[in-house]
């Protein structure tokens, strides 16, 4: 099914909150999700992995990722952490950081030794994609020399992104945890208009 980027971001944010992620981190994760989707990456499974792993927040990409970017901005020193589930989200977290480090490389390394490297230099974001899978170690560092296989990442799909319907339903289920069941009182006093209007 196709969803809009706004749906992806807003539902992703609510889903993160529904999983207990604090609001500010949920905002970061949701923007990263939309960025990944716009960049053509399989965004939704990545967030779902991260949300599943949030049972242990101390090792979650949703917590460690923004925190590592903060520290990199403060002192410019290498940051290493992991392994984390949903590690691909780190690319979006860095790309959407505001302010974003002027020069930074994000390296994801999985258990099989595959790597993905994203470089940010000013406004340009490039990706040297490896086929990483499963939990990854994550490193933030000043960017090394560019590789020949890198591609420039651009927003490509304002028409929305394709997602698996089962993944979307899972995301909505998480998001539904933020909702309060309605009752007669809330319908009558907590909302607005009369139930039937014939004028």
């Amino acid at each position: 099914m196709r969803v809009s980027l706004n749906e992806l971001e807003s539902t992703g944010r609510k889903a993160a909150i529904g999983c207990g992620v604090p609001m500010g981190l949920a905002q970061d994760a949701a923007r990263a999700l939309a960025w990944l989707g716009e960049a053509g990456s399989p965004a939704l499974p990545v967030l779902l992995d991260a949300l599943s792993a949030y049972r242990t927040p101390d090792t979650s990409i949703l917590v460690l990722g923004p925190s590592a970017i903060d520290r990199f901005l403060v002192d410019g020193l290498d940051q290493r952490f992991g392994p984390c589930d949903g590690a691909l989200l780190m690319l979006g977290l860095v790309a959407c950081a505001n302010p974003r480090p002027e020069r930074i490389a994000v390296t994801l390394s999985d258990a099989d030794g595959c790597r993905a490297v994203m470089r940010v230099t000013g406004d340009q974001v490039t990706l040297s994609e490896g086929d990483v899978s499963g939990p990854c170690e994550i490193a933030l560092s000043p960017p090394p020399a560019p590789e020949r296989s890198q591609r420039v990442v651009r927003a490509v799909c304002p028409g929305g992104v394709e997602v698996a319907e089962a993944d979307w339903r899972a995301l909505e289920a998480y998001a539904a945890r933020t909702l309060v069941p309605a009752d007669a009182r809330s319908r009558e006093k907590g909302a607005g208009a009369g139930l039937v209007d014939r004028d």
Binding site: G24, L25, G160, V180, S186, G192
Partner: protein
């Protein structure tokens, strides 16, 4: 930016509807019915198009029979008299078939990136039937009835920006004609108005083809589109601080520009006199049942008598005349009176004001700089949130309410924290209370510590640090009131936002929802095509 003042705002020429009509008129857009497939009861579909000269936008409208027991303005409704999609371009038969299967279901349907907005409306049954019956009998409807209600249909939602799969704002952001805030939504409502005026004439013709007459243009022009707005609109003002800053800032800049005029010419004084007369006529036709608003309107009518007298005293040699008027208003008029005067003053000099409408959009995201020190953040909070830090949240009444999203059609609601469950799922709109909590936490930290260290230990403050840093840069970004206190009136939030849309005739039905009128007095398609009718502030029918 206090709630009491926001709840007294009036539309101005910076309002989004006014801006759209200015563009449509200046560029002489061609607006017309491209397809009409309606039965004798007016059920079926129609397509209304706006041709900008460079691009075509099409309103695909579906009119269906509605059981009277299902006719509700509430967002929880599941059926409507009419449903609409603003389609990007010219829809094919397949597009219309797809939309027919989805649009009448509204939120339960799915849409595509070619679909720019989604909306629905119910008839004002009293007026629609009256107008159709009169026209069928060959006579014009009662003007007083038209003035009293002001619309044939009222919408209950106009969705945009990616909801239910429709186009993201990114799809249209670069298009000059719809780049401003809510321009696609405002175009949708204008075309809905065209559809309703056409629909009532169609029904009249079907009732009595031999005797039916069209609705007189001056009556048509006075019919807008109604709208019922509830709490769904309120959180927007809190969750878009930079955008709201831009709206407010443009309004304040406009006012500052006219107040700084050193003098007025004799024609300008005459123009001001005429605007005040029109405002008085408009307010004279603004009647509501709500006792609080009715009293405010009564005082406003008295205020306008004073303003008329003050304007009569102006002369070309009067120094800084509009600043004097405004200062006098601050001393002697109600808040509604002051705000209506703002709308009048802004109206006087389009050359000074209209360009500011181009500054009211923002796609900027809030920033969080972890390099700030604790001391810097604390100082900024003390500076921009002094009003919040002064509130006493130990008082149970100061935390009486909580905002939440109902499971039922995802509708925002307001609960009583002391009597209802659900506060554990509170929406983050208690800015003042939560900023107090952040400020308290900062007292326990070293002043030269980067804020990154606090956020690592206390991630629950992350969104508040982001907000405080934003508000420090954008002075109109925050509503300076306690939005969870017993005294908070959500209706004030609604009126503020609706005034920026260009809504008029605010008709509160409770503290939580209001009816309004959109596009009343706006030019008709043939006037837009002639480049005529841009001046439609303060519409009145009976005087």
């Amino acid at each position: 930016m206090r709630l009491g003042r926001m709840g007294a705002f009036f539309p101005t020429r910076l309002s989004f509807m006014r801006r759209l009509i200015r563009r449509m008129t200046a560029e002489r857009w061609a607006v017309g019915c491209a397809a009409r497939s309606l039965d004798e009861n007016g059920y079926g579909h129609a397509v209304w198009q706006a041709d900008t000269g460079n691009r075509i936008y099409s309103l695909v409208a579906f009119s269906t029979q509605l059981d009277p027991d299902q006719r509700t303005d509430r967002v929880i409704a599941e059926a409507w008299d009419a449903s609409f999609v603003l389609f990007d371009g010219v829809p094919t038969a397949d597009d219309i078939a797809r939309l027919r299967a989805n649009a009448p279901r509204q939120e339960a349907g799915r849409y595509q990136a070619t679909d720019l907005t989604l909306s629905r409306a119910n008839k004002s049954v009293r007026l629609f039937d009256h107008v159709a019956t009169c026209l069928a009998a060959g006579r014009q409807p009662n003007a007083a009835s038209l003035a009293g209600i002001g619309y044939l249909m009222r919408t209950t939602a106009v969705y945009g920006n990616g909801k239910f799969g429709i186009a993201d704002r990114a799809v249209i952001r670069a298009r000059e004609e719809v780049a401003g805030p809510f321009q696609a939504e405002m175009l949708t409502v204008y075309l809905i108005r065209c559809f309703t005026l056409d629909l009532v004439e169609h029904v009249a013709r079907a009732m009595a083809p031999e005797t039916a007459v069209p609705l007189a243009p001056h009556l048509k022009r006075h019919l807008g589109i109604g709208n019922s707005t509830g709490l769904g609109m309120a959180p927007f003002l809190v969750s878009h601080p930079i955008l709201i800053h831009r709206w407010m800032s443009a309004r304040e800049d406009a006012l500052a520009r006219v107040r700084s005029l050193e003098s007025l010419s004799t024609p300008e004084i005459a123009g001001l006199t005429e605007l005040c007369r029109r405002a008085r006529a408009h307010v004279a036709e603004w009647n509501v049942a709500d006792p609080r608003q009715a009293e405010r309107i009564a005082i406003l009518r008295e205020d306008l008598i004073s303003v008329s007298a003050w304007i009569a005293d102006l002369a070309p040699e009067t120094p800084r005349p509009l600043d004097r008027l405004f200062r006098r208003a601050e001393q002697h008029l109600s808040v509604e009176g002051q705000e209506l005067l703002v709308a009048i003053l802004i109206e006087l000099r389009p050359d000074l004001v209209d360009g500011l409408a181009d500054t009211m959009a923002s796609d900027e995201t809030e920033s969080l700089d972890p390099r700030w020190t604790v001391g810097r953040l604390a100082a900024e909070i003390d500076r921009v949130y002094d009003w919040a830090l002064a509130l006493d949240f130990d008082d149970p009444e100061a935390v009486r309410h909580f905002w939440y999203v109902s499971e039922e059609k995802l509708e925002p609601r307001l609960g009583d924290r002391h009597e209802e469950p659900g506060a554990d799922k509170e929406m983050p709109l208690a800015i003042a209370r939560d900023i107090q909590g952040l400020r308290q936490a900062l007292r326990t930290r070293a002043q030269d510590e980067p804020i990154a260290a606090l956020l690592m230990e206390r991630p629950e403050f992350r969104h508040l640090v982001r907000r405080a840093q934003t508000v420090a840069r954008y002075p109109y970004a925050e509503i300076r009131d306690n939005l969870i206190g017993r005294a908070c009136l959500p209706i004030d939030l609604l009126r503020c936002k609706l005034s920026f849309f260009g809504a008029s005739k605010f008709d509160p039905k409770s503290d939580l929802w209001t009816r309004i009128t959109l596009y009343q007095g706006a030019p008709l398609p043939e006037e837009i095509a002639r480049g005529d009718g841009e001046d439609w502030a303060f519409p009145a029918l009976l005087s």
